[in-house]
Symmetry: C5
């Protein structure tokens, strides 16, 4: 999995079968120093992640290992909303109301 | 998934089994700032995406999760034609007739 | 899929089960401007692609979606020999006898 | 597989189904010269790897090939804790108590 | 598949289920000009490749398509020991006793 921050969303009304109702978020990858990179994925969000929240992304066939995504043409999914993330014993991020931005 | 723009097409009359009639588009990756990169994929298009349209691409085994691609040697597919895409609350792209180019 | 040009071949007489008789080609990736990069894959060739020909490569589990590669430890395959490839309405490549080199 | 060193951990109390109780470690990739890069993965740890330990990471559908991860939306797993790792006949790393740091 | 040269090995006595007895080699990627890069994988070796030998590596779910690796948490395998490898009609490598180094 990789760590990312939710920065946007995508609407695609014309799509392949079974995609109706799956929210699509733009998630930008975060590196181990905590800075946000230009690398991104569009991931299905079944957890209701808010903009600005840090999330865990799983990719590939793994994205289909939930009842909501099984058999769907999906290759990236938000599998967790991060509470805290630490490296070398120091928190890189802790979820607070301040860490969320509004859309 | 990644976001790309349809910039070309490929014809390959000599191909492996079951590939007949699957349109193949060249799709160039778009980065979060909205600029088009040199990175590309050739993706199967079952939606009829026009040149210049922004699309969502799924890769790997995921590309076979539609009735039209099931069991075929395909590793990239256009799963949606994007209406709008926003980052930090601002639209990076909105589909209009002007955003399409003719072939 | 990606576009590549066949530039070489590999012989590996000592190999894992079921690999006997599968031709292995070195294919170098071509970028959207048409130039050949140093990035390459070794792909199974069930189509008889000649050196210098432009081909479509599928990777991962997709490479096993043909009767000749099913169940074999193969992660890249030539799925098509390209006739023509265009970007922005202009041909980047058209297959002619001149585009082939001899080995 | 790739070689990495355990440098951190992630807590995500809000997650997709079946993820309860799977420890998540931040693992930074180690290159062949032995230096630690900024490239990282978040991997499930079913072995109890300590911070500072060198580990083997498997990715993709492979991460679901254990009884603890089968059917779960997991795309990276620690499959081994490295005792020793050598290149060109010289040890790049040998596990000792000194190679571990405390959290 | 990619071409690599066997440069090292890894011992991990503490590992996930079913991994007992699978030799693990460090394989560094070779580019089309024949030079060895810093990019590497740790691959299962069921063929007994010697240090210094050039090999073909398959990755992902493909690594489980042999009887020795089926169902195991393995994402890279040596599928062939290369005899010869040519580009543009010229040999980049030919296996000889001189091309092997001792450990």
């Amino acid at each position: 999995m990789i760590i990312g921050v939710v920065t946007g969303s995508v609407i695609a009304s014309q799509h392949t079968q079974n995609m109706t109702g799956l929210p699509l978020r733009v998630v930008q990858r975060v590196d181990p120093t905590g800075s946000i990179s230009d690398s991104y994925l569009v991931a299905v969000d079944v957890l209701g992640a808010a903009p600005g929240e840090y999330v865990l992304i799983a990719s590939g066939s793994t994205a289909r290992q939930t009842t909501m995504t099984d058999g769907k043409p999906i290759d990236a999914i938000i599998i967790g909303i991060i509470d805290t993330w630490q490296i070398d014993g120091k928190a890189r991020y802790e979820k607070t109301s301040a860490s969320m931005t509004s859309t």
